[in-house]
């Protein structure tokens, strides 16, 4: 089966791809933390946060359409939360854009702020996920203090989620081939899920055996992390400076 994996463009060659996974992970965390800590009614102040991830995505060569499709897939939750705000926050507030001023429900402002914060976080995460191989990401998590076992879980999850999807696909096709119309597919799907769970457990057992046969005794012997290059350090420094600058500007304007 073919899978549209999130890191299908992670092997491209670009300055963004060449950055160390740890540097990208730190930059994404810092940028996201700064954006989401902006006040809940902030809208205009959030727009500059969109520029770095958008510019880096363009520089990476990852197709914009691929990013937009992923954005659409993960946006329903943020969209529905933002859409609910105008219903609950009905009091009027004055908003201005340059010389124009108008009065709107407060919920539109906070809803807009939620959407922009979502966009900043989602773009930053998509940038990280599409330009970094997941195994590198797991390694970066580990070297940044996430327990190695947990980072390993991420790597194994990434490997086996495709197998589980394949197995479910096969079970679904087998059920569909014998179902007349859609009737009877729901119980079959429930049975397929139960079967899938049992198969996943059996596979976990066999994978553990395969790991044990190659010397795994509960602790992973990982390769030591490579040294950060000057470009990686500069990238992190720029992300820190930009995020801190934008956040301090916001605090100064509030004050």
């Amino acid at each position: 089966m073919h899978h549209a994996s999130i890191d299908r463009y992670a092997s491209l060659e670009s300055p963004v791809h060449r950055l160390d996974a740890r540097a990208k992970l730190v930059a994404v965390l810092v940028c996201t933390a700064a954006a989401v800590s902006e006040p809940r009614h902030e809208v205009a102040g959030l727009l500059p946060y969109l520029v770095p991830p958008a510019a880096l995505i363009l520089a990476s060569g990852v197709p914009v359409s691929f990013i937009l499709k992923r954005l659409l897939v993960i946006s329903p939750f943020a969209l529905s939360v933002a859409a609910l705000n105008p219903i609950f926050e009905t009091w009027p507030v004055r908003v201005g854009l340059g010389p124009w001023e108008t009065t709107v429900r407060a919920g539109w402002v906070t809803g807009g702020s939620i959407l922009l914060k979502f966009l900043v976080s989602a773009l930053a995460l998509l940038l990280l996920a599409t330009t970094t191989r997941l195994s590198r990401l797991a390694g970066a998590m580990s070297s940044l203090g996430v327990p190695r076992a947990l980072a390993m879980q991420v790597a194994l999850l990434y490997r086996f989620v495709f197998l589980v999807v394949d197995e479910f696909g096969r079970a679904h096709r087998a059920a569909s081939a014998r179902a007349v119309g859609s009737k009877g597919l729901a119980p079959a799907a429930a049975a397929a899920l139960a079967g899938l769970f049992a198969r996943a457990l059996r596979r976990a057992e066999r994978v553990t055996q395969a790991m044990t046969a190659r010397g795994f005794d509960g602790s992973f012997a990982g390769a030591s992390a490579a040294r950060l290059r000057a470009a990686d350090v500069l990238f992190v420094a720029a992300a820190l400076a930009l995020s801190a600058g934008l956040r301090l500007r916001g605090l100064w304007l509030e004050g």
Partner: protein, 264 residues
């Protein structure tokens, strides 16, 4: 008697449900031997391979390279026997192929340079140089089989223990696998239903039936024993049947011919 590379004495094992998978298996395998473990489904072939590396707690004595299998020798014995599982998706558990091939050497405590060198060499030996950054789910069936072999070759084992290595392979991939194994292996044990491959790669066959050794001897002799094969739920490989048909057309021709006709 000098130590064989692998010596099993009265090896027994029952699964937790009570199913007796191995019932007193005794075997000796010398260095350089190529042994096919054959038998019907449930004969105990895969369980025997698992028992060799201590993955099922079998009773009896298992000695590998002079070491008796015990908690103290498990690590060393797993270095000596490279076990390749039947399903490559069990064998290949890391996100990238190079990481998978490096897993064994890294667990052996080798330094990063040695791990990298062994990884590159193992991938090259199975014809997958340049595939290191690929994800296992992007490989074809034949590539996955070759990659599975590379994951143990990087540990430089003395014995390759392969469980159904040609299952699900098309003829070309099977041919490639045979060539690779001949190139890289020295001593191997093949648990297989693919009797043609067994005949091609092994000069000795051990027939297991209900967890016990039913026959042990030259592969050609065992595999051409029609009565024995029939009794064990197997069949004489086509190449032997055709060979016999050519050799004695008057006596065997009509039988082999009619069977070939049915397959066609």
């Amino acid at each position: 008697m000098p130590d064989a590379l692998i010596a099993l004495e009265d090896v027994r094992f029952a699964y937790p449900g009570g199913e007796r998978a191995l019932r007193g298996v005794s075997l000796r395998i010398e260095a350089g031997e190529h042994v096919a473990l054959i038998g019907p489904n449930g004969a105990g072939k895969s369980t025997l391979l698992l028992a060799l590396v201590g993955l099922v707690p079998a009773e009896g004595t298992i000695r590998v390279g002079g070491l008796e299998l015990s908690r103290a020798t498990l690590r060393e014995i797993r270095r000596k026997i490279g076990l390749v599982f039947q399903d490559p998706d069990d064998q290949l558990f890391m996100p990238e192929l190079a990481e998978d091939v490096a897993f064994g050497p890294a667990q052996m405590g080798l330094d990063a340079e040695e791990v990298a060198a062994r990884t590159a060499s193992a991938l090259e030996s199975v014809g997958l140089a340049g595939f290191g950054r690929r994800s296992p789910h992007s490989l074809s069936g034949g590539e996955k089989r070759a990659a599975s072999l590379a994951t143990v070759l990087s540990m430089r084992p003395e014995v390759l223990a392969l469980d159904e290595p040609t299952a699900g392979l098309d003829p070309r991939s099977r041919r490639r696998f045979v060539e690779v194994l001949r190139r890289v292996g020295r001593t191997w044990i093949l648990a297989t239903h693919d009797l043609e491959t067994a005949l091609e790669l092994c000069e000795r066959a051990v027939l297991l039936e209900a967890g016990a050794v039913a026959a042990d001897g030259p592969a050609r002799a065992i595999l051409s024993d029609a009565a024995l094969m029939e009794k064990s739920g197997l069949e004489v490989p086509l190449s032997i049947r055709l060979g016999a048909a050519r050799a004695t057309p008057a006596t065997a021709g009509s039988r082999a011919g009619s069977e070939t006709g049915r397959q066609v």
